[in-house]
Amino acid sequence: MPVLLEVDNLQTHFFTPEGVIRAVDGISFDLSAGETLGLVGESGSGKTVTALSILRLVPPPGRIVEGKIEFAGQDLLKLTPSELRKIRGNRIAMVFQEPMSALNPVLTVGSQVLESVRLHQKVSRWEGRDKTVELFKLVGIPSPEIRFKAYPHQLSGGMRQRVMLAMALAGKPDLLLADEPTTALDVTIQAQVLDLLDKLKKNLGMSVLFITHDLGIIAEHADRVAICYAGKIVELAPVRELFARPAHPYSQGLINSIPKMFSGGKDLKLSALPGTVPDLKNLPPGCRFEPRCPRALPLCRKYDSEQKTIRPGHLAACINPLNQ
């Protein structure tokens, strides 16, 4: 599969009066056509900022300080604003965690989706309307003609997220950045939306960068997974490989933190990672996971490990990796 997106040493920092927040601090990964890459990490690890950086939508005081983002052979960081607009929404689209804040509350959802249809395809209002209704059908909105006239607040969270998907699909994107699209939804609705995403991806041949903090979703829906910790990717591996033989102690800690449904054992303790994530304004000098790491060596406090190939296609940034 040809590589569609390549991110190399991306650094996005926020320059606040309290100090520089290194939200994304040297992230590299690639994404092939038709692939789903899961980007997992805890709150504040830089997942959203990574996605926003790809679209060059980082809000001030944030700035992309360094790195290369190559999409279909073009360096996105070198594009002019008008070239960039041709890519945004057209070839790369994004859906957000909270669809309510991404939708305009005073316009009907139909007119909002219609607007993005007409932005990306040269069609008349009437054709656009038909296309919108088609999109609504595609994302599984029941009675689309009626929902066309609904306002965002009249829809449930699940329906709003489907509207967001319809809007994202209007430009027939090659790459979908999905930023926790199901986090705000109930499990049964989440399962429906995830199922829908899988089908859309297969039928339209899209690549998906799927951002989530739920390893369960990754296990069920991603091809490869990148584990993010405090602005860095600490491990990158095919899904099965990651769960079977995690190399980074943080990955293993995350996997072990999830209560297993079928373990049954009552007085079993969850193997929790101690401590909390470091302050991004004030990172430890060595490996940023060292203060919480059960396998830390004295060396880890001084040196930050480079990404190393553990096995073909399996990278980890750790001096003392597991399962080698």
Binding site: G216, A219, R240, L254, P259, S263, K269, L270, A272
Partner: protein, 325 residues
């Protein structure tokens, strides 16, 4: 009603409807059937898990049990005493034995009080400490129990991380030495690695202090780890109660089955074809007739649409409200 009571808590046919104004002009009052005839019991030392989707009435039930809101009808018995009949001093005495931990540690801590004051407040209210110094000693001891550093005493809630704030919330609940703790989604807003720490804390405290929990969550993975029994709630009603191993092994109610099917399992080697239920939960203002799940149920047949199925026992002490059993 006759009830076998060595239970610590008994809830009998509890109902709470909230009036809401639906149409702006007519001013007609509709009712949200938030909790609609709920009954269950919890034995001393047991953890009963309560699972259900957003808006099904979990928090309302929790607030009813603490008498933070008053039910429209039904009974609550705590240690065989009629809790709802209590007033004044008697109510305060009984209240000490039931405490609550909230979902959002941010909004459940008074931002203008220091951690020490927050945890010391219940002790002060009930005059449990003979002196100010003794109270501080008790608070410091609670800090130790929940794993907070002693220098937390004079820090404000915003100076703590999410996990630490939840520890403050737990310490406050423990301050009165309660017998029952109602935990309303206490780990839902936390990151997985922190969630595991807090779950371990709940489990530790339970054994150390011989506590009884009503543990509310929408995450079956969490509940199946922490609970002895699980009650499944849908649109204000309990549709199934069973011991955790049995429920996990063989969910009986079609809604319970749907919940289990929807839980993402962090094990890619067991990727399975999922049977998903269609549609969304209907409005609790006009819940469907008959079985409230029938519009989404793949097995629904004629009687499901007309008469609500009663919650009745099937094999080994399980209760299910479904005509299939």
């Amino acid at each position: 009603m006759e009830h076998s009571s060595n239970n610590l808590l008994d809830v009998l046919n509890l109902k709470k409807y909230f009036p809401v104004q639906t149409t702006f002009f007519s001013g007609s009052r509709d009712l949200v059937h938030a909790v609609d005839g709920v009954s269950f019991g919890i034995q001393p030392g047991e953890t009963l898990g309560l699972v259900g989707e957003s808006g099904c009435g979990k928090s309302t039930l929790a607030r009813l049990i603490l008498r933070l809101i008053e039910p429209d009808s039904g009974e609550i018995r705590f240690a065989r005493e009629d809790f709802l009949g209590k007033r004044g001093e008697e109510l305060r005495r009984l209240r000490r034995k039931i405490q609550i931990v909230f979902q959002d540690p941010q909004s459940s801590l008074n931002p203008r009080m220091k951690a020490g004051e927050i945890i010391g407040e219940p002790i002060k209210i009930h005059s449990l400490a003979p002196s100010r110094a003794a109270r501080k000693e008790m608070v410091l001891d609670l800090f130790r129990q929940v794993g907070l550093p002693p220098d937390s005493y004079s820090r404000y809630p915003h100076e703590f991380s999410g996990g630490q704030r939840q520890r403050i919330g737990i310490a406050r609940a423990l301050a009165l030495n309660p017998e029952l703790i109602v935990a309303d989604e206490p780990v839902s807003s936390l990151d997985v690695s922190i969630q595991a720490q807090i779950l371990n804390l709940f489990s530790d405290l339970k054994t150390r202090k011989n506590l009884t929990y009503l543990f509310i969550s929408h995450d079956l993975r969490v509940l199946s780890w922490i609970s002895d029994r699980i009650a499944v709630m849908y649109l204000g009603e309990i549709v199934e109660i069973a011991s955790t191993p049995e429920l996990v092994k063989k969910p009986l109610h079609p809604y319970t089955q749907a919940l289990f099917a929807a839980v993402p399992i962090p094990d890619p080697s067991t990727r399975r074809e999922k049977i998903l239920v269609p549609g969304e939960p209907p409005s609790p203002i006009r819940p469907p007739s008959g079985c409230r799940f029938h519009p989404r149920c793949p097995y629904a047949f004629a009687p499901c649409k007309s008469t609500p199925p009663p919650l009745k026992p099937v094999e080994n002490n399980r209760l299910v409200a479904c005509y299939l059993y």
